[in-house]
């Protein structure tokens, strides 16, 4: 149990910090949420800058063209990027965190050569076609059908919660090629310019188009685009998940810490800190986020030694998502009527209240107990896989 960073870890940090300080002023402000072409250009530019500096795919193994950094270095990378206010991974998310690692582990040499460099260099964007309207938490019940026809699969069905679909070049697609259940699923690379794909943006409760529905009508996908064997797609998907090193929420956690500081500052300006109940809620979140930072270090340390993050991922997500919601609720209460609109407002005596950003974070926090495994599914996982409680089914 030691919180000291090694000399090489400290060198990694100081070099990264120096590069961020020199590079970030050239990046400019991020485009508006709904301007997807501009977001694509902005995020790909950032990825290209990372690539040129040797930080692209910092968590990818060297044989996939990545930096092959240790889990602790991955933690440092995410920490420094967040603290410096670097752009979020954005439209590069699926390529860097899902599709790329899957192709590294399970792809053919030709697939690796075709797709991996384009992800690392910030040339191509990926989206994910996993969930379906009738297959959410029960993903293995998915029904989008792929039928062999010569050298192609003919794919028909629909997908949902597909982020960045409007600007993606490729889609990692789970399809049913065999019987019901998780043994009849295959993993395909679907080119997003193939005929028969209809993209229908979904408006979120925030009013923005964060993700879309995909309607697939006899879309032809070459058999050569299958990653892994036919009907082995479920295992291929699980391999990807094993790439997670306990750093998935580092950016979100540090962002919450920053937002908490801003909530406190606003509460102070509004003269609300004399309310001990309010102050205690702030103090409690300080303790919780500090503890979750310690838990992150524990999970990363486990991953560094054993290759897997251990039990920590679900435990972290359950706790963090609820505390992020507590922070969001606190923020809108502190802002009171200023949280009734997202237009920039000033407090008494001038100075921005940051109500737009806090509202955005509040909405996002509501999704945290749903996305990437609902809290109810996470509790089943913790109860059954960690505590060994019997399954209901």
């Amino acid at each position: 149990m030691d919180l000291r960073y090694t000399a090489s870890e400290q060198t990694f940090r100081s070099e990264l910090r120096r590069w961020l300080r020199a590079t970030l002023p050239t990046v400019g402000a991020p485009p508006p949420h709904d301007d997807w072409p501009a977001r694509r250009a902005y995020d790909l530019n950032w990825q290209r800058l990372l690539f040129d500096a040797g930080y692209a795919g910092v968590d990818w193994p060297a044989e996939g063209g990545g930096r092959g950094a240790s889990p602790v270095e991955q933690l440092i990378f995410k920490e420094e990027c967040e603290r410096a206010g670097a752009p979020y991974v954005g439209v590069n998310f699926v390529g860097l965190l899902h599709a790329g690692p899957t192709i590294i582990a399970e792809g053919t040499p030709a697939q690796k050569e075709r797709y991996l460099p384009a992800i690392l260099r910030g040339e191509e964007v990926w989206c994910q076609g996993f969930s379906e309207p009738d297959a959410g938490s029960d993903l293995a019940s998915l029904r989008t059908r792929a039928v062999r026809d010569g050298d192609d699969y003919v794919v028909t069905g629909s997908k949902i919660w597909t982020s960045h679909a409007e600007v993606a070049d490729s889609c990692e697609l789970l399809v049913r090629t065999g019987d019901a259940g998780n043994r009849g699923i295959s993993w395909l690379i679907m080119p997003m310019d193939a005929p028969g794909i209809e993209i229908r943006p979904l408006r979120t409760i925030e009013g923005t188009t964060e993700f879309a529905e995909l309607f697939l009508n006899e879309v032809r996908v070459p058999v050569a685009n299958r990653v892994g064997e036919e009907n082995d797609g479920w295992r291929v998907t699980m391999v990807t998940l094993s790439f997670e090193r306990g750093t998935a929420f580092v950016g979100d956690l540090l962002e919450s810490v920053r937002l908490l500081g801003e909530v406190r500052a606003v509460a102070h300006r509004l003269g609300l800190l004399g309310d001990e109940g309010l102050a205690r809620r702030i103090g409690h979140l300080v303790a919780a986020f500090d503890a979750l930072w310690a838990l992150t270090k524990r999970n990363v340390s486990e991953a560094a030694q054993t290759g897997i993050p251990g039990i920590g991922g679900s435990v972290f997500k359950l706790s963090f998502s609820e505390h992020a919601q507590a922070l969001g609720d606190l923020a809108v209460e502190v802002l009171d009527r200023a949280a009734l609109c997202a237009d920039p407002l000033e407090g008494p005596g001038g100075g921005a209240l940051g109500n737009g950003e806090q509202l955005h974070a509040w909405f996002k926090s509501i999704s945290l107990t749903i996305a990437a495994g609902t809290s109810q599914v996470q509790r089943n996982i913790v109860g059954e896989r960690i505590l060994g409680l019997p399954k209901a089914r």
């Binding site: 524990r298 109860g383 209901a392």
Partner: protein
């Protein structure tokens, strides 16, 4: 950086667990419920012989380990419901304040002053000395002799934490705690005991949920019960990470500066912030898990026989030392 619980620490856990199971099993400890002395002198000496109080003393008197190692040991002591002035005796031994504390031949109590109210001192009847901490750097070491006539409370909340009701604390000799070391270390070890209670009640709840059948199934197969247990694990693991981080900061002053810079507070505030956050979360985990475990046990959880109430009551006792959770939360607001 390697923040895992190390192999040495796992061995330490195993060692203390087998010692406690052999020498201080629960039925043995419970035989003294309600008595003036919560733990027999020879059992106390056995803890001393095992090295529980001398972990951080340099060899040959102690084992030269860190507070993180002591936290691992104290978690086991909490888990096993070992009573007695564990934290006070540890602090007296590590600070060289009372002869015999390290060996377990002396019993040193601990009293942290907080809100005004009745002065209730734990274990007074078996104490050789009482360490009084106020968190502001003015600590005192009292000889309990002058308060010998104080009455023992007839109905203490925890049957294994006897209490004495004093009119006021007499003055004793001052003990320097300028850098807050006694306070910080004591709070970390109290928090470690609380993590032990949180883990013990989780284990009891999970075992019961696997074994107890209703509607033809183990109740742990029902999501309503399963999710209570999952939340217990989350609380225990988050609190444990916080306690271990605070202990590591106490052990490594060279890390405090960089951690403070990352956390955005002054180096002098980092220990206080980390320690009180850990104590707050450990208090809450111990209390909430005891309550949840009682709920999982249903009516049996409300009986004297099932030891869950002992964990709940000890967790209540521990949550009133080194500041209440409410006070900790209020103080921590300054660091946001």
């Amino acid at each position: 950086m390697d923040f895992r619980v190390g192999d040495d620490q796992r061995e330490l856990t195993e060692g203390i667990r087998s010692m406690v199971q052999g020498r201080l099993p629960l039925e043995h400890l419970r035989a003294r419920e309600g008595e003036e002395r919560a733990i027999a002198a020879d059992d106390w000496a056995a803890l001393g012989e095992t090295g529980v109080f001398a972990l951080t003393l340099p060899e040959p008197a102690g084992t030269g380990l860190g507070l993180a190692d002591a936290a691992v040991v104290f978690e086991e002591l909490g888990r096993a419901l070992v009573p007695g002035p564990l934290v006070g005796t540890f602090l007296a031994a590590s600070g060289g304040l009372v002869a015999g504390a390290a060996e377990g031949s002396a019993c040193v109590g601990l009293h942290t002053t907080g809100r005004p109210g009745p002065v209730l001192v734990e274990h007074l009847g078996s104490l050789d000395a009482l360490l009084v901490l106020d968190g502001g750097g003015t600590s005192q070491l009292l000889s309990p002799a002058p308060v010998g006539g104080a009455p023992r409370v007839e109905h203490p909340l925890d049957p294994l934490t006897p209490l004495w009701h004093l009119d006021a604390l007499p003055f004793g000799g001052a003990v320097a705690d300028d850098d807050g070391r006694l306070w910080h270390h004591g709070a970390v070890l109290s928090a470690a005991l609380q993590v032990g209670h949180a883990v013990a009640t989780l284990d009891l709840a999970v075992a019961y949920a696997k074994e107890r059948q209703q509607f033809g199934k183990p109740i742990g197969s029902f999501q309503a019960v399963k999710h209570l247990c999952a939340d217990m694990l989350v609380r225990a693991e988050v609190a444990r990470a916080a306690v271990h981080a605070a202990a590591c900061l106490c052990d490594a002053p060279d890390v405090v500066g960089s951690e403070a810079a990352a956390a955005g507070c002054a180096p002098g505030q980092m220990l206080e912030r980390s320690v009180s956050g850990a104590k707050l979360l450990a208090d809450e985990a111990a209390l909430a898990n005891a309550r949840a475990a009682i709920q999982v046990h249903g009516g049996m959880g409300f009986t004297w026989e099932v030891p869950l109430h002992l964990h709940l009551k000890r967790a209540r006792v521990l949550s009133t030392s080194f500041g209440t959770p409410a006070a900790a939360a209020l103080a921590l607001a300054a660091y946001a």
